[in-house]
Symmetry: C2
């Protein structure tokens, strides 16, 4: 696959993914960089209808959860390493914030390596950002122990759609030479021009009766109120899992 052509796939054929195929992809992905070669992640594989039914509301009913043959919940994991240390009479000091970030980093590098390999093998993936919206629900359902944390969910299957590729910002939007160069109003206008004039985005503005696209994001999609409520839940869950 040419990565420049990649896109998210949300509709999958009713076709299973053989366990050995999935395991091979998950193993290959483990070649991604990892902190001190500790591999601070785990992945919970959901195939059963029963578990998909229970996961679905935790992801706000997004149809990919029930529609995909496989749902993968990638977790930051300092439990395995800590248990090994304890078994070897070693003082494992990984119940803290830096260790959380190290494990989150390992996990997300692993997730992207997996997605790239899975897409190269002909599968479609969808990244569910909702994993962080209600982590405690996912922790309870998947029985995630102390020092683990759900970081990302991927739905996976053989593509049954061929959607249009979404836009991306021009690369000068996010590349800075030597130091960060903050944005002038004129630069912001240029960076977001293409996105703002897209037909589908103009429609969102109209339907939601907003002045512009930015307000669709702040007032409808990702509101301050929701973000603050979910931030509190996220912090609570991190404490519950022993990372703070």
């Amino acid at each position: 696959m040419n990565f420049v052509e990649r896109k998210t796939i949300r509709k999958y054929k009713q076709e299973d993914i053989p366990a050995e195929k999935l395991e091979a992809l998950l193993f290959q992905a483990s070649r991604a960089a990892t902190m001190g070669n500790m591999q601070l992640y785990s992945v919970v594989v959901t195939r059963s209808e029963e578990m998909k039914e229970k996961l679905s509301p935790l992801h706000f009913g997004q149809p990919m959860v029930k529609g995909a043959p496989v749902v993968l919940t990638f977790c930051a994991d300092f439990n395995r390493f800590t248990k090994w240390c304890e078994q070897r009479n070693a003082d494992a000091g990984y119940d803290n914030y830096l260790s959380l970030f190290n494990a989150v980093s390992d996990t997300l590098l692993y997730v992207q390596a997996f997605c790239t390999l899975a897409e190269e093998a002909g599968y479609g993936t969808c990244y569910l950002g909702t994993t962080l919206y209600n982590p405690q629900g996912i922790i309870d359902l998947l029985q995630l122990p102390r020092l683990t944390f759900p970081v990302a969910t991927i739905t996976l299957g053989v593509p049954d759609e061929n959607p249009k590729q979404p836009d991306r910002l021009p690369h000068l939007a996010y590349i800075h030479e030597e130091t960060y160069h903050d944005y002038t109003p004129n630069q912001l206008d240029i960076i977001y021009f293409f996105k703002e004039q897209l037909e589908e985005n103009r429609k969102f503005v109209e339907i939601n009766k907003k002045e512009n696209l930015a307000q669709v994001f702040t007032d409808c999609r990702y509101t301050r109120k929701d973000n603050e409520a979910m931030s509190a839940g996220l912090l609570e869950a991190l404490k519950h899992q022993g990372f703070m």
Copy 2:
């Protein structure tokens, strides 16, 4: 490149990376999944000797920083999006913890997509975990504004070494079916057996006068004391950047 053969490269030829080549790779990588298509990241490109000199101690003098033609600091970035919202009279509520995690997720997916593409193009990469050890120093040096945060540093260049590939855990170590299955002592022995009996790891145990490999990790490499001190610094820096 076959991903299963990938490995970290720490020594690079004295050979520059053309700006247009680097920009093309950075742009291609932007096809990775991103939260609501917001692309919550920026990358600061370090090429000057002067900046490498200043970055080097912040990464504890690891020789890759001064030895690589290009050093890339990938930052979670809600500054650009927030500034755009403010310019459009939209109430941007992204100075919170959930938003930080969303931006960190975007950034790390982008990092791994970039590394895979760069390696496919024949470059070698090294992921510096030290970015999180002293974030405030990096923030100051790279002039990172509020609502940005350095998440990962990659050194990049044409490989000038061909090291042995390190070990990885057997995949059954981190794959769980339907729910997380915690590890029995016997499983831990099996999972870590290969790592523990490796010649180089036995030597680390001997040199450091420890009982076993786990103690090398907990007492020498990643100690409780260091982790706790650096956790405090990380939290301070996150507050400073407006995310808590």
